[in-house]
């Protein structure tokens, strides 16, 4: 094969197919995720029932705890913040025809980077906060760029490399937090607390990290659809050879998309450190990156859609601990519900059920291992 083509075709998300009316597409875009979530909850309910708990009661506990009080709502916002960002990270990749499964590792690297930038310097807050966030983003971007460069210039599947880099990141941050960046004179594996000046403030009672994440999601809604660079991402995702023919540097675009994706995940980690945990501990942050995949697919790779999707996942995650406390159901039931949601959203089960649409456009990513 010729110059192009590490990336492959056709995401099926942003395809302006003239045969489908705009409204029809929009109905599907809302109906399929909604029905999928309902179905997943139904099956989750059956599992809960077999554990000897009334599923309606369990769900009531889950949601009322999360949504029934100001405190609960704030906790949902906190939980959703990194999820919006990892969801966006996966979304940017999907748009460009890349499947970034490594948001988890990029987030971890960003989180520890922000922690270092947060405790190691004394700066005025107006400088320190952006500096720490951007430093975390750069760490995430650098981490993702390993996979991005291998994909763009050596045609190595980003699916495998990002997964491997997740495992490497877990070991790496564990090492960093236990040796070079460890809080001195403490038995625990963790970094020192960040300086006051790096801590993200609240705006009113709302955590500013949440606002920031919303703004970033809105920005990407604009960026991916209304700017030249966003157009390049989409074109490379839809048809790399056409992109190449149109003079878009496919390899450069892939590399850039992966770096942006990693920066977003790294930002999620930074906000987590600077706004919530105040330091880095290897046991924090588990699973946030993988939820990003569910969120991006639930939102059908629409940046604005990541907000409601992340709020849903954040609600479930923040209610899970209470659920266990009140009913004794393992909090992992949330993982099952999310996995089922993903199954129903991504597999054409629901779209067939609802629309009898056998030729519905499906998500399509790379194929092959790039042996071009």
């Amino acid at each position: 094969m010729s110059v192009t083509d590490p990336a492959q075709t056709d995401l099926g998300f942003s395809d302006p197919d003239p045969r489908r009316s705009g409204r029809w597409t929009r109905v599907q875009a809302v109906a399929i995720p909604l029905v999928s979530v309902l179905l997943a909850f139904t099956i989750g309910g059956i599992l809960i029932y077999f554990q000897g708990v009334n599923p309606l009661y369990a769900y009531w506990v889950l949601f009322s705890n999360a949504l029934g009080s100001t405190e609960g709502l704030l906790r949902v916002m906190e939980k959703s913040t990194p999820l919006i960002l990892t969801g966006l990270a996966v979304t940017v990749g999907l748009r460009t025809g890349l499947f970034n499964i490594g948001a988890q590792g990029q987030l971890l690297v960003g989180a520890i980077g922000a922690a270092w930038a947060g405790y190691n310097f004394q700066l005025p807050p107006l400088v320190h906060i952006p500096f720490a966030i951007i430093f975390g983003m750069l760490c995430g971007a650098a981490w993702a760029s390993i996979a991005g460069a291998l994909r763009a210039y050596r045609s190595v599947s980003e699916v495998i490399t990002t997964i491997m880099l997740n495992a490497v990141a877990i070991a790496l941050v564990d090492y960093l937090a236990s040796k070079p960046l460890k809080e001195p004179d403490q038995p625990l594996t963790r970094t020192p607390m960040i300086a006051e000046s790096a801590a993200l403030p609240e705006i009113g009672i709302v955590p500013s990290g949440f606002i920031l994440a919303l703004l970033v999601a809105i920005f990407f809604g604009w960026y991916l659809t209304r700017t030249t660079q966003g157009f390049r991402f989409n074109t490379v995702g839809l048809n790399p050879s056409a992109a190449n023919y149109a003079g878009i540097g496919v390899k450069k675009t892939i590399f850039l998309a992966m770096a942006v994706s990693g920066a977003l995940a790294g930002m999620g980690g930074s906000i987590e450190t600077l706004g919530i945990t105040g330091r880095f501990e290897p046991t924090f942050n588990a699973g946030l990156g993988f939820d990003g995949i569910t969120i991006a697919l639930l939102a059908r790779a629409n940046p604005l859609g990541t907000i409601p999707a992340a709020l849903l996942v954040g609600t479930l995650r923040s209610g899970a601990a209470t659920l266990q406390f009140e009913t004794g159901i393992e909090p992992e039931v949330v993982d099952v519900i999310l996995a089922l949601t993903l199954l129903f959203v991504a597999a054409p089960i629901v779209s067939r059920m609802l629309f009898r649409n056998r030729n519905a456009k499906q998500t399509s990513l790379s194929s092959g291992w790039g042996g071009s």
Binding site: V156, I163, G368
Partner: protein
């Protein structure tokens, strides 16, 4: 050229092993045994990848298939009180997981990578949810010592004094090589993965072939999973498979989609990890444990970066077959 490098490398490694054996017999045998045990699930999982990709289907869900089977195999064995029954349950679970991937990737023509990812996430969720502590296996897996052969120095204790899974993995790799390259099934499978249109024209049912191959490959993922929980770990933990399913894909590529090549790659992989662990345990090299833990993953990335683009995957891999 490539073959010559491979031979040189193999001879160098064998020479190294002999030198090590002369210098320190016990350590060498223990490192080699460790390496082989490390390689067993990788060999089996790489075979899953080879069967699927030779048929034109990417199986990124091997990890999840192994995890579910490890789970089902362990609890099956613990509850029935029978290791063989547990293993069979594991293999059966693997086949069900294989059929799941086949339904998504072949019947529904979903994006194969997303279909596999769903299997992984689903397996993680289900095994974490249903996991419970306090179960133990009824017995430890028996070792089969092959009489005369096991008495050969060096080779004997390493190769001929193992659990049944180890022999099974080696035999399966050899048999699969014969099946793929010397039988009609193999010819058809390769045709379906390289040029499904032509295979279809000459009367091969592409969809059916792919569906069955992916499903039966799942049985091997089941065997790999059962090995991990029943023989290797003798227990089940959340996330037991620890990325081996993905490493196996890299090994498959490194082995050029050839069962024997992949087995050699898996053994090399096991050896690298065995040597590193031993050196670290002996405090020959003073590097933190975390870096030893990283090694298999970094090695995977490096191997992929080296071989990528030099070895050709089956031409139709990843592409759902649409009848013209």
């Amino acid at each position: 050229m490539r073959a010559r490098y491979a031979y040189t490398l193999t001879i160098a490694i064998l020479a190294g092993i002999v030198v090590a054996f002369v210098m320190d017999e016990n350590r060498t045998v223990s490192v080699l045994s460790f390496s082989l045990r490390y390689a067993v699930p990788l060999i089996l999982a790489a075979m899953v990848g080879i069967i699927c990709e030779r048929s034109g289907v990417i199986n990124i869900g091997i990890e999840g298939q192994m995890l579910m089977s490890a789970f089902a195999g362990f609890f099956g064995a613990a509850i029935t009180g029978n290791l063989i029954a547990g293993t069979m349950i594991g293999v059966g679970t693997g086949m069900i997981m294989g059929a799941m991937l086949a339904t998504g990737a072949v019947t529904w023509k979903m994006d194969q990578i997303i279909a596999g990812t769903i299997i992984n996430i689903l397996a993680t969720g289900l095994t974490s949810f249903f996991y419970s502590q306090g179960y133990v296996l009824p017995a430890i897996t028996p070792k089969l010592r092959i009489p005369v052969l096991a008495d050969i120095p060096l080779v004997g204790p390493v190769l001929f004094d193992n659990g049944l899974f180890t022999y099974a993995a080696i035999i399966i790799a050899l048999v699969l090589w014969v099946l793929i390259f010397k039988t009609i099934w193999g010819l058809r499978t390769r045709a379906v993965g390289e040029k499904p249109g032509s295979a279809d024209t000459s009367g091969v049912n592409v969809q059916r072939m792919r569906f069955l191959n992916v499903t039966f490959a799942g049985a091997l993922a089941g065997l790999a999973g059962a090995y991990l929980s029943i023989e290797a770990a003798s227990t089940f933990e959340r996330g037991l498979t620890a990325g081996r399913g993905f490493t196996a894909l890299a090994i498959m590529i490194f082995g050029a989609w050839n069962p024997i090549g992949a087995m050699a790659a898996a053994l090399f992989f096991g050896l690298a990890n065995g040597v590193a662990s031993q050196l670290q345990a002996d405090e020959v090299i003073a590097i933190p444990q975390q870096f030893i833990n990283m090694l298999p993953y970094i090695l995977t990335i490096v191997l992929l970066a080296i071989v990528s683009g030099r070895i050709k995957p089956p031409a139709a891999v990843g592409k759902p077959y649409e009848k013209e």
